[in-house]
Point group: D3
Chain length 143, copies 6
């Protein structure tokens, strides 16, 4: 079975801070450092979404990238781009806006739409800066 992994990149530019309301500013600083700046900071995020499948004999596609891109535009880029991740995003309410947690929430949001489009979501890579990123396999541990 000639399983292929296909990946689509989208980008969004957003503000956030790492902050626990129940902690003092000093405690937030101690744990989160400069990421706790109370007036926010921001990033150019890149998200790489990987879908697994066997290429269709008819189209040669695992999934039509136009469809995958439309899902990502609707479920990720529109709600997150040029937004404040702590304040403006319903599906991130009440969640500490670490890159780790954002990746998990995005997974939960796009898994079903991708499935309905005939693909199997297997990995998200969320890049915050050129020096750090997270990867999430839906809880699986390939290594």
């Amino acid at each position: 079975m000639k399983t292929i992994y296909i990946t689509r990149r989208e980008t969004f530019n957003a503000a956030h801070k790492l902050w626990r309301e129940e902690w003092s500013e000093e405690k937030n600083w101690e744990v989160f450092g400069k990421c706790s700046n109370k007036n926010w900071h921001g990033h150019n995020f890149s998200i790489y979404v990987t879908v697994k499948g066997i290429p269709s004999e008819e189209t040669g596609f695992v999934i039509n990238l136009k469809e995958l891109s439309l899902i990502l535009k609707k479920e990720v880029v529109e709600p997150l781009d040029h937004k404040n991740l702590n304040l403006d995003v319903p599906f991130l309410q009440g969640i500490l806006a670490s890159t780790e947690n954002i990746a998990i929430q995005i997974w939960d949001r796009i898994k079903d739409p991708i499935s309905e489009a005939g693909g199997e979501l297997v990995k998200i890579k969320l890049v915050e800066t050129e020096n750090n990123y997270v990867e999430y396999y839906g809880g699986k541990e390939p290594f």
Copy 2:
């Protein structure tokens, strides 16, 4: 056992289109969108080839990268660079030239030469644009 994965990148610039001869131009457009432009379009492709092995005590190498590069130059770059993937490449004849299918054909072509050079091919990553790429593990599904 200290297994290392080593990767070599090569590049090729080629034209292709996504097109089924037995379909009308309209049907091709409906399925493949702008990729079906009948006069072709093109890309700068990058291919990353990963070989697995235990570093030799004598050389510190999993595989000599000069040898690996020579195999890739002969089997991938020469036949594909500055070519039309639908028309000019014997080993892609009759195959819908999606990135997925190209990756699979390249795998079949380089697996044995790499094996003869003492390496074990375990992954191909074929990058079409900064926004999309495919990965192929020879049919294996690591995740």
Copy 3:
């Protein structure tokens, strides 16, 4: 006067060949090498368009990047993306499709629309591969 230069990048993926009809295939090969492949090859092109001006006191903008992007989408990306530069592009008809000549034609096409949007086009950079690009200043020679 606080003149700022602002640059917008757009991308397009296209096929082309370097070819003179009045020359034999051998002569074309001799001059243009692998770029003369008669069945075309292709690239992911990036175009960087630079506009000069003094930031508006009201908006802080030299030019609204949304407007600049719309001009480039209409005048460059739509006519060139997923096209054959030799066959499909009215404003490149009869022109040898070297990166140099494409850059000059794009300049002539976008200069006036940018001017009408209140900006002054001063530079185009057209990137063909990671190893080569051309720059055009509308004929000016800053160095």
Copy 4:
């Protein structure tokens, strides 16, 4: 005279919005689009600072990059990194936080320290995203 231009890159991640207090939210949206989101958004900014000079016979340097980097860390990275460009930065108070205006303010801030270190600041390039950046030559217009 063997004049060399040497460039140092630094990065900072910050939140900002494009917003005029005296305008309604609708007017801000009309002019600034998604960049006017009232709860901010953010970017990974890169700044490239170019200094001109003749390499010292003794050191081969136009300017010692350690010194240049220290100036940029003190004058740019410390005040801007992980900050809100509208709220947290004294030297940007009262200034519309467009990339153009930020570049001009940074110039005014680093020109003299670089001069005291024996260099001549001639260019700032401030990159907001992979698709847009501004350049400032202190008001000069090389092209």
Copy 5:
């Protein structure tokens, strides 16, 4: 269990050569090619270190990236940056300085400190040039 993989990049610039003392210069050239130049050559190395874990409910972190970065600065960047990998690095003494071998030694050096900081080291990627890199999973073979 929502396992996340988080990666931190650090860089170091170093000289090395591939060379066996007990071989002649000719034999070294035959096996290692230009990498055997007896007066050394060098690279800008990038190292990507991946740590696996479940994000803390309190901090949203798998591991605090400041801590991870401090470990990498102390154990990798300080001993290797602007050094000769064959001559200057105690933990590489007597080891053929191939990228493969360097990656294995770095793993052995950072595994425990990362563990003490509460993380589980699962992957190192060591990039030597834009055309080649190695990956090491501590001997595991995920594919």
Copy 6:
């Protein structure tokens, strides 16, 4: 006159140190810092060479990039790649191996061959790391 600037990139990986023989190790450290490590360090250098001219009516070329690349391979890559810039390169003997000085020496070496190939060398950009590079216009000062 439709003057175009065309740029070709080549790369070389080399060792060097910043060091004055007549200074003590302490004095070298004081001035050159970690770049003075007596056992060398190294970099992946990229060189961008820009040639100016009017595209030929016959070929559309300012200069044939194959020819330009051959000149750069012969005059820059062969003598510098996988070499020690202080010890192995005749045309750098007796010259402090700062990026500034290397750029000037490369200019003097490639200016005439490019001129004989019908092009006019106008700029060299020599990139040492992602954080620093120098540019040289043959002594001209465009800004």
